[in-house]
């Protein structure tokens, strides 16, 4: 018995003792892992990528027998070190981002102990889910293709794993996979369109807790100029009617009303709010003439950007105080929302409550004495709106410069900016202006957002990039309400009329650190064209494929006859799956039939042979029907007569030159005889069975 056990143990799944898995399968797995990491390279910490690379290379070399896989203690040590580094860097924050890093870490560590096909499947599952997680971060067309390619590589790896020594496996695997996908694609597309897009079942962790590049809720004088070095997309806008002129494209994001030393902050709204459910329904149907759609890239912040005097149309944005818009859940993935510009300007031109006024007049107790003097001066001579004008005139007429390379202004920065250096970026000027206005007793606030935006390919939408980030001022003028004041417009009109590129053209500092950005090479038409076309494709992809969610689905369904609701869609999807399965099984049954379609006589004779076989009289090679019938007759006397007749009919069909009967009659007769024989055999056995 012991020998038995040993032997059955030896016949396990894996043939090779050294590493167990076919090399090529492991290579496909590692290749897929590499593909799945590329979309995350910008997010993952360097140490993790390096560790994964080292571990994967180690595994590769081990596969080819160059090195050994680490022993248990070394493995435990590596695991311990990497996991402690991970825990130290994550520090208890939980988001999809950190979970994804953990997945990556898990895969990296798993490379050291991929020995059996079981480990292989564990990796397969983790990697498939990793691709899913990737989709939360990147939904552009090219990243989609990368992800799907990685999944395809995984599936090929599985095929190699399951038939490692099959000749020509690689080509056959791809072919098989391709055919499989081609055959099932219609079902997949139908399901994609008709599968009911339910609203989220529960609130899920944020995709990322890390701050992304983009404007933040504090502003120090240098902040926005560093943002100006980035050509990443902030959002894209489609207008229902006319696009506003460049100088009117002020996208308000948030208001900073509290000056804390050098830093502008928000006084209110800092408290933690539990993130709501994901709400991506950004309104459907054609845009009204004053409406516009914004497709915001993920910011991980709650604020939405809007033109002045807007009103929320889609349900996923809410209007809050200060004419600002907020999401219920931070924009952790790209969000589309819809707004409408109101026809009447200057709404809310009522009075400012004293508490509000106090808030917008706050200043630090000390600092920047020259700016305060200037304010006092103006205050004494002029009314509120005249103070504004005077300040702007000062910016326009004195040699102030708009620059991406402002000097350091450590102490009393506003004084230095206004009276000595006179060189700064929008954030410097906005902060200084609010300071002077407040010192002069005029309620004022810094507004942060974007200004501008370039037309995309075809000219039908706007692309707003990070370098369009901007800070400006709003001042409360009695009788007029909040008035926008933009010191940058006075200093560098180019910035407001046509964008940063022109504004800093002389300086040559536009995207000077970003060599890879296509926007840097805007003067080369082909690059410009290609980058815009790519953006357009991605924009359409994001709007129509990625953004195909609840309301868009309902909108599409409402255009189809039938008036489908979610429930009907559920039935429909089930029907599609059912129909798909049915068609597939019919097809395969048909293929089987086609394979077996043979001469009708041949089939009947085969059935007869089967019957003989069941009766214990298997056909011998070269046996004639008559001989077989004789033997059958001896074994089962009850059917002897029918068998003889059957054999004669078969003979007369196959061997007689001019059969007496027609072909169909013969077939008929053979079928009848076959049925008779079956019946006779059954009867004789049932009577035999009754006898003891």
């Amino acid at each position: 018995m012991r020998g038995l056990k040993e032997r059955s143990g030896a016949v396990s799944e894996v043939p090779s003792p050294t590493s167990g898995l076919p090399s090529r399968a492991v290579l496909w797995l590692i290749g897929s892992f590499a593909l799945l990491l590329t979309p995350q390279l910008d997010r993952l910490p360097i140490w993790l990528i390096a560790a994964c690379a080292v571990l994967a290379v180690w595994r590769c070399l081990a596969q080819y027998g160059r090195v050994r896989l680490p022993g248990r203690w070394l493995r435990a040590g590596i695991m311990l070190v990497l996991i402690s580094v991970y825990v130290a860097t994550v520090r208890g924050r939980f988001s999809v981002d950190t979970a994804a890093s953990f997945f990556v870490l898990a895969v990296g560590l798993k490379w050291l102990e991929t020995r059996s096909s079981r480990d292989f499947y564990v990796l397969f599952f983790i990697l498939v889910y990793l691709s899913t997680v990737n989709f939360l971060f990147h939904q552009e067309i090219h990243w989609t293709l990368v992800n799907l390619a990685a999944i395809a590589a995984l599936l090929v790896g599985l095929q190699v794993l399951n038939a490692p020594d099959f000749p020509g496996a690689m080509k056959a695997s791809w072919r098989r996979l391709g055919l499989l996908l081609a055959k099932t694609l219609p079902i997949v597309v139908l399901l994609f369109v008709f599968f009911p897009r339910m609203s989220p079942l529960w609130s899920v962790p944020l995709v990322s807790g890390e701050a992304r590049s983009g404007i933040s809720d504090t502003m120090r004088p240098g902040d926005i100029s560093s943002l100006a070095q980035s050509s990443e997309r902030a959002f894209r806008v489609t207008f229902g009617g006319e696009m506003p002129a460049y100088r009117d494209r002020y996208w308000r994001g948030l208001v900073l009303d509290y000056l804390d030393g050098e830093t502008w902050r928000q006084v209110a709204g800092g408290g933690y709010q539990r993130p709501g459910r994901v709400a991506l329904d950004g309104g459907v149907g054609d845009l009204g003439p004053r409406q516009y759609d914004v497709l915001l890239e993920p910011t991980d912040k709650r604020w939405a950007f809007a033109l002045e005097n807007s009103r929320a149309v889609s349900a996923n944005v809410v209007e809050e105080s200060e004419d600002l818009f907020r999401f219920k859940r931070p924009a952790d993935t790209s969000v589309r929302y819809r707004l409408e510009r109101e026809a009447t300007e200057n709404r809310g031109a009522t009075s400012l409550p004293p508490a509000e006024a106090r808030r917008y007049l706050q200043l630090p107790a000390t600092g920047n004495p020259r700016a305060r003097d200037l304010a006092d001066n103006l205050r004494r001579r002029l009314t509120d709106s005249e103070v504004l004008q005077a300040l702007l005139t000062r910016f326009r007429e004195q040699p102030y410069f708009y620059t991406l390379r402002p000097p350091q202004m450590p102490d009393n920065g506003i004084d230095t900016l206004l009276f000595d250096a006179k060189r700064g970026f929008c954030a410097h000027y906005a902060g200084a202006t609010v300071f002077v206005l407040r010192a002069a007793g005029i309620p004022a606030r810094v507004v942060v957002g974007y200004q501008g935006g370039d037309r995309g390919a075809g000219g039908d939408y706007l692309i707003v990039r990070q370098y369009d980030a901007h800070a400006w001022v709003e001042a409360w003028i009695e009788g007029r309400g909040w008035v926008r004041v933009d010191p940058t417009a006075a200093i560098a009109p180019d910035r407001i009329e046509s964008g940063l590129r022109e504004a800093v053209a002389e300086e040559g500092s536009f995207l000077e650190d970003d060599w890879t950005s296509p926007q840097r090479y805007n003067d080369i038409p082909i690059i410009q064209w290609a980058s815009l076309q790519l953006d357009r494709i991605n924009y359409q992809w994001q709007r129509w494929v990625v953004g195909y969610q609840g309301q868009s689905q309902m909108d599409l369904m409402s255009r189809l006859p039938g008036g489908f609701g979610l429930k009907e869609l559920g039935y429909l999807s089930a029907g599609i799956v059912g129909a798909g399965l049915l068609v597939a099984s019919l097809m395969s049954a048909w293929q089987v039939r086609r394979g077996e379609r043979r001469d009708a006589f041949r089939r009947i004779v085969d059935t007869w042979h089967l019957l003989c076989f069941r009766a214990g009289v298997p056909v011998r090679t070269g046996e004639t029907p008559t001989a077989l019938a004789e033997r059958l007759g001896r074994a089962e006397p009850a059917v002897a007569e029918s068998a003889r007749l059957f054999a004669r009919t078969v003979n007369s069909h196959y061997y007689s030159d001019n059969p007496t009967e027609g072909r169909d009659d013969q077939l008929q007769r053979l079928r009848r005889l076959l049925a008779t024989m079956k019946k006779q055999m059954r009867r004789s056995h049932s009577t035999a069975g009754k006898r003891p």
């Binding site: 989709f135 095929q159 099932t184 798909g580 214990g616």
Partner: protein, 343 residues
């Protein structure tokens, strides 16, 4: 409860797959279920779908549907991989109890390739074999044996998990033929030999009544080996020992020569003795209750003896499980002549 279900399932399968040495795999006798990995994959798809719903992510929906379609497609692929395959038990094996008997099985692929086919039986199995469409391949499956007798595996499993290992399709062939398992040889105590070596035949002959030996004078025609040469040296008389029913002679291997031991051990002793005799080239006969094999030598004789030992007292398996048709097919003619008596 579980047992009941298991038995029912077994009966149902047995009805569906009759005993036969040839089995054409088709829709009727192929079973398909997800493997462990396939089940996990299903759970993974569900988790992906929920992720897609909660994050309102269309691309996750798309991936989920794609992988779901791959799973369903794989179901067809796996099924087709087995469908049309014809499995024939070409040759049954012989061997010693406790060892594995080689069963030769020919697999002939139908219209489609049959990739990564695995045969297994009672915990022993073969690695994956690939058979191109229309080709045939002979596979030798070791079937473990426990005790001597007829060995007919209840089921030999033919399984494939290709292409992705997420689903397994399998079927069984339930052979009608059987292999023969010889008793495991156990060195026998010196019983037969002691007659030759003993100083006195009376002392040395076994005390049991049946094995009582008569001594008679030598006559013409007696084999010289039977002469008690020691007695001759002592007394000058040529005396021949004659055992009852020619038993107990060194040229006869006798079932009854081992008093006090059970049948199986006796058979093991005899198997060992057969091998001994074969090695020394001395002709020998075999005497089993109700069966006698005349002294002879040579491979076919040895085989005949071993077979007789193997199936002694064993019932030959029936052709069919159900009693519907008698046992007319005699797949292996050897050994059929003396296997009917029961003890």
């Amino acid at each position: 409860m579980k047992n009941l279900f298991k038995n029912r399932w077994k009966r149902w399968v047995n009805r569906r797959i009759p005993r036969a040495d040839v089995q054409l795999l088709s829709q009727k006798n192929i079973f398909i279920l997800p493997t462990g990995a396939g089940t996990v994959f299903g759970v993974l798809l569900l988790v992906m779908l929920i992720t897609g719903i909660n994050y309102q992510n269309s691309l996750i929906y798309l991936t989920t549907f794609l992988l779901g379609a791959v799973f369903v497609g794989a179901m067809h692929q796996t099924h087709r991989n087995l469908s049309g395959l014809e499995v024939t038990l070409v040759q049954t094996g012989e061997g010693i109890a406790g060892e594995e008997l080689p069963f030769r099985i020919r697999a002939t692929a139908g219209r489609d390739n049959a990739i990564a086919i695995r045969l297994s039986c009672d915990g022993s199995g073969l690695g994956a074999a690939h058979i191109s469409a229309g080709q045939a391949k002979d596979l030798t499956l070791p079937v473990p044996s426990v005790h001597r007798g007829y060995l007919r595996p209840d089921r030999i499993r033919i399984e494939t998990r290709f292409p992705f290992g997420l689903l397994k399709a399998w079927s069984w062939i339930r052979p009608a033929s059987y292999g023969i398992v010889f008793p495991r040889p156990v060195p026998a105590p010196d019983v037969g030999i002691s007659v030759e070596d003993g100083s006195d035949s009376e002392n040395s002959s076994p005390a049991e009544g049946n094995d009582h030996a008569d001594l008679r004078p030598w006559r013409e025609g007696d084999m010289s080996q039977r002469v008690m040469w020691k007695r001759y040296a002592r007394s000058g008389q040529m005396v021949v020992a004659e055992w009852e029913g020619e038993q107990g002679s060194p040229y006869w291997l006798d079932f009854n020569a081992f008093p006090g031991t059970n049948h199986e051990l006796r058979l093991s002793y005899l198997a060992w003795l057969v091998a001994e005799r074969d090695r020394s080239g001395i002709p020998f006969g075999l005497s089993l209750p109700g069966q006698l094999i005349e002294p002879d030598s040579g491979a076919s004789h040895v085989n005949r003896c071993l077979r007789a030992l193997a199936v002694y007292g064993e019932k030959r398996p029936r052709e069919m499980d159900s009693v519907r048709h008698g046992t007319r097919l005699q797949p292996d003619a050897a050994g059929s002549g003396f296997a009917e008596e029961g003890v």
